[in-house]
């Protein structure tokens, strides 16, 4: 051995979207270090937005140029159709979320200052701001991009952490209700670390089983390795725990309401949209690629999880009184609906493609609507900041009909009323499931969505049919960013609800090749 190592080949062009995001994050850190305080925000925002837009453009360019069929970066990353599609989705959603945090309203001025202390007061006076949130957010987005593209479990694990760690931090940085925010951070962190330990243990067992953490090799080993099936089963289950935790499937959903409620709303928006998309991408990749040959075994298990998730999400949401918490439970229920799509694997490539198409479409539709909904939440304020309690939303339809109307529209999309994007999302997933024989699951899903409709409708009732409280919240004039997000989300919800075909085509094209194997 002469001590030389052959240089690894890394397809920089393929990974460009990732690299742009990470690079921008690092530049952001440097800005933190060297730029004077008053300039930072002015630099960060364009930097962040530009990098996200640039990454999106690169991803599009990549997709146009042709989707590679081999994993990149020495087999660590698979930039395939679904990955590119998910990247594009995440980047748009992240872009929207960044637009939401533009006004420094949401983040604490000095995180180190104890709430209520003189230091905090001073920070307020000085208009201190944690501009670090921008690079942190970019890191999180980078993790989200990496997670669904990870072709081996090691990269998946690292990506999981890259995605999660900044989010743990960001959760705790709310400007108001800081105790709740910090509580959310602690809970998210402890539970996140706990669940990633499970993920890791699952990785270990699968590694033991297959001798590799490469998803493709694991899949190959499914047929060839004998006698170690228990390792495989437990490993897969542990891996599932980690992934299902991230998507908030029951019984791993408990963090979601608390964290969504406590976090700064733009971060909630990012988590509810971007993280969910990324986690589903990873879940799909792990289960379809890594454990594709095992679907006969994991399908019944996921069946149960999906049912439990839908039921828990729908039922618990009914009695919620906090808008963000309610949206969190709604997100849990939607996670359940999406799991139906994961289960809807078939035996032919076409069947799988249609299931994947449905899922991708659902993710896009749901992501846009969610970001829009949380954007609206940021705009309804009263003296204590955002008016979370639902009773405060009473009569909003009279005070601010347009905003309430848009929000009602988002809620209808969540409920899956036709002519909204949510309907086609559900439809696509359900159709794939029925085509692959999961009709009972679809029936349960349908019943759950009927139950779920109740609480969406309840909010509409509150907004439109109740009389406004005398000291009700006011709707702040949105910043241009927020207005753009709400407008865009509403537009997307309409367009996807009326002419879903282009996006469906896109998703279909992306899903055509399925995942790189």
């Amino acid at each position: 051995m002469n001590g030389t190592i052959e240089a690894p080949t890394i397809e920089y062009a393929l990974l460009a979207p990732l690299l742009v995001v990470f690079g921008a994050a690092i530049v952001g850190v440097l800005v933190e270090a060297f730029a004077p305080r008053y300039l930072r925000s002015a630099i960060h925002l364009p930097l962040t937005l530009l990098s996200l837009a640039g990454a999106f453009a690169l991803a599009v360019w990549q997709a146009v140029k042709g989707v590679p069929t081999e994993p990149a970066a020495m087999g660590a990353i698979a930039v395939d159709g679904p990955a590119l599609f998910i990247w594009g989705t995440i980047l748009i959603l992240a872009f929207a979320s960044v637009l939401l945090i533009k006004d420094e309203e949401h983040f604490v001025g000095a995180a180190a200052a104890v709430p209520g202390s003189a230091e905090e007061e001073q920070a307020l006076v000085e208009r201190a701001a944690h501009t670090e949130v921008y690079p942190l957010l970019l890191f999180a987005v980078g993790g989200m991009l990496l997670f669904p593209a990870a072709n081996d479990l090691l990269v998946a694990f690292v990506a999981l952490e890259v995605m999660s760690l900044p989010l743990y931090l960001l959760c705790g940085l709310a400007r108001r209700r800081r105790l709740l925010s910090q509580e959310a951070a602690v809970k998210y962190f402890l539970l996140g670390a706990f669940s990633s330990a499970f993920f890791l243990y699952g990785t270990a067992l699968l590694y033991g089983y297959a001798g590799s953490v490469d998803l493709v090799k694991i899949n190959q080993a499914l047929g060839s390795v004998g006698g170690q099936d228990t390792l495989l089963y437990i490993g897969a289950a542990m891996l599932g725990v980690g992934l299902l935790f991230k998507i908030g499937a029951a019984p791993f959903q408990s963090w979601k309401p608390d964290v969504y409620q406590g976090s700064p709303t733009p971060i909630t928006a990012l988590m509810a949209s971007g993280t969910l998309v990324a986690a589903f991408g990873a879940l799909l990749r792990v289960f379809w690629v890594g454990l594709g040959g095992l679907d006969w075994d994991w399908r019944p298990v996921l069946y149960g999880v999906a049912i439990l998730t839908m039921v828990v999400g729908a039922i618990l949401a009914i009695t919620q009184t906090d808008i963000k918490r309610m949206l969190a439970y709604s997100s849990i229920a939607h996670g359940g609906f999406l799991l139906i799509g994961v289960i809807a694997t078939g035996h032919t490539q076409a069947e799988n493609t249609s299931a994947l198409t449905g899922l991708l479409f659902y993710l896009v539709a749901y992501g846009f609507t969610t970001v829009g909904a949380f954007a609206v939440v940021t705009m309804v304020r009263d003296a204590g900041g955002e008016a979370w309690h639902l009773s405060r939303w009473a009569g909003l339809g009279k005070r601010s009909p347009l905003l309430a109307g848009v929000f009602a529209f988002f809620l209808l999309a969540f409920a899956g009323i036709p002519l909204t994007s949510g309907f086609f999302g559900k439809y696509a997933v359900f159709q794939a499931a029925v085509a692959n024989g999961a009709t009972p699951l679809v029936i349960i899903g349908v019943v759950a969505s009927a139950v779920a409709a109740f609480f969406y409708v309840r909010v509409i009732v509150l907004m439109f049919f109740s009389d406004p409280a005398a000291d009700g919240p006011s709707v702040v004039l949105p910043s241009r960013g927020t207005a753009a997000v709400v407008g865009f989300a509403a537009l997307a919800t309409v367009v996807l609800g009326v002419f879903p075909q282009p996006v469906l085509d896109l998703a279909h094209t992306a899903a055509q090749s399925l995942f790189v194997r």
Binding site: V186, K187, L190, L191, F194, S195, F198, D229, T230, L232, Y233, I234, A236, A237, M238, G240, V241, L244, F245, A250, P251, F252, S254, W255, P257, D258, D297, W298, P300, V301, G304, V305, V312, I315, L316, A317, I318, T319, Q320, V451, F454
Partner: protein, 632 residues
Amino acid sequence: MEPAEIIQHSGGAIGAAWLMIALPLVGAAVLLLGGRRTDKFGHLLGVLMAVASFVVAALSFVQLLGFAPGERRRGIELYEFIPGLAKMGLLVDPLSISFCLLITFVGSLIHVYSIGYMAHDPNRRRFFAYLNLFVAAMLLLVLADNYVALFVGWEGVGLASYLLIGFWQHKPSAATAAKKAFIVNRVGDFGLLIGIFTIFATFHTLAFDGVLANADKASSGTLTAIGLLLLVGACGKSAQLPLQSWLLDAMEGPTPVSALIHAATMVTAGVYLIVRSGPIFQGAETAQIVVTIVGVATLLAGAIIGTAKDDIKKALAGSTMSQIGYMVLAAGIGKAGYAFAIAHLITHGFFKADMFLGAGSVMHAMNDEVNMRKYGALRKVMPVTFVTFLIGYLAIIGFPLLSGYFTKDGIIETVMEHNAVLGWLAVLGAGITGFYMSRLVFMTFFGAKRWEPTAHPHESPAVMTWPLIILSIGAIGLGAFLVLGNRFMTFLAPAVGAPEEMPAFHPFSPTGLATLALVAAGAVFAWLKYGRAEVPALAPRGSFLTTFARRDLYGDALNEALFMRPGQWLTRLAVFFDNRGVDGLVNGLAAGIGGTSGRLRRVQTGFVRSYALSIFLGAALLAGAWLVVGNL
């Protein structure tokens, strides 16, 4: 002798027979839509339309007489009513034209009479509109050439009856009576409707033409079913047992209404239906027997009710029931009875209208007092009314040579030939008729004055008395004209058929004598009790039988116990069940989900460690489940 073929017809008065219906209908429409603008001439327009209708009917009759007897069934196609089910067409034949003449003639007279009777009513215009509506509907009923159109008329007269009974709708009793009349009629219509369904299911047509000509091809079971169902309809409309209860209450309406609708015309529609559907009944002996039983029962029941009523109109209404019982009885016998049934129907139309209008005249004079115990000795103050009423009275009890004598005795004779038991019951009914009608006359016109202090009776104006006079003329002579020489039977034969041999008229036959004797006994008994003796101002308690009769033979009580009370309970139960049961289930489900949610959310304790526990347990479960599934 079988009915003749129907010949399609156009032209002439018969071709314009639809005008008979259209004219009063236009009258009604103008008066109803025109509103107060037509108040001034409303009554005149109403009369005009009725008379015009009569003119058309008379011209049609004349034209019909111009055809050979075998060609006297003329069908007129108007338009397609319900494609696949029925066309709207008219059938002008001896049967329908008889009814038309009766309806339009008596109707016109009553219109005229009403000008005076309703002179002081602010809503007189509306009254005439309803009367016109009634005439139109009644003519449609009798002129229709199929069961659907007949049913349209059938319910149309029901509507008119409802509107007219409830004409003084500010009176709760009137409103209730109107509603009751309609609902009880609907019960009858229920039967009629199902009868019509059965006819359609059997024949796939509803035209009289197709159904009646082919009735003999259907099984007797089917025909019996149809017959019985039609009978139910007839019972409802003609106030026959067991659907009689509405007629007495219907006297809440203005008296001309009682005369026209509840004596002369509408209530006889049941008889018309049975006669018109003759071929069906002839193929269903059971149905015929039931018809006769119903007829006899009603004729006795009506008579009994008539004996006990102190309300002059209700007594007359009981009498109407009874007389229609005779007609139904006759119609139930078959071809032999049809002519007598219709003849009695026509004469009854005259003399009963005469008496009702007379009663109206009396009421008009007595401040709308109807209690006969407060009448008495009116013959002197109201001579015209008295004389015309007396003629009607003599006609109905069958005083020789007056109308009733010919037609009612004709029925009794025919029935006696057919079945002695029924015959003797009919004779008994005649006897009771003699009693109660005498009672009525004695209480009203004879005896001592029992008037209220405020009453100042006087003779009615000419516009009211002339119709009385004309009707009483009919009551005198019409019977002889129709029955002698089987004139009417011959005339009707092309429409309803006729017995193989025409009955001969036997004056003073044994049956006739027995009837006369019984009637005379009844009259004498009435004289003893009400003419000679003092009539108490308050009704004595009377025997069980009296109470029985006064309470309308407990008909209402029976209805209340059998239908109303259980119906109310059922309604309450259903409402309760709907709110608590069906809706409760729905709401309960919602509440259950909500409750589950409320309880389940407590699982989200807020403690990280609980969450971690759920994850840990979940992981164990997931792994366990996977192992189980994997090793299956």
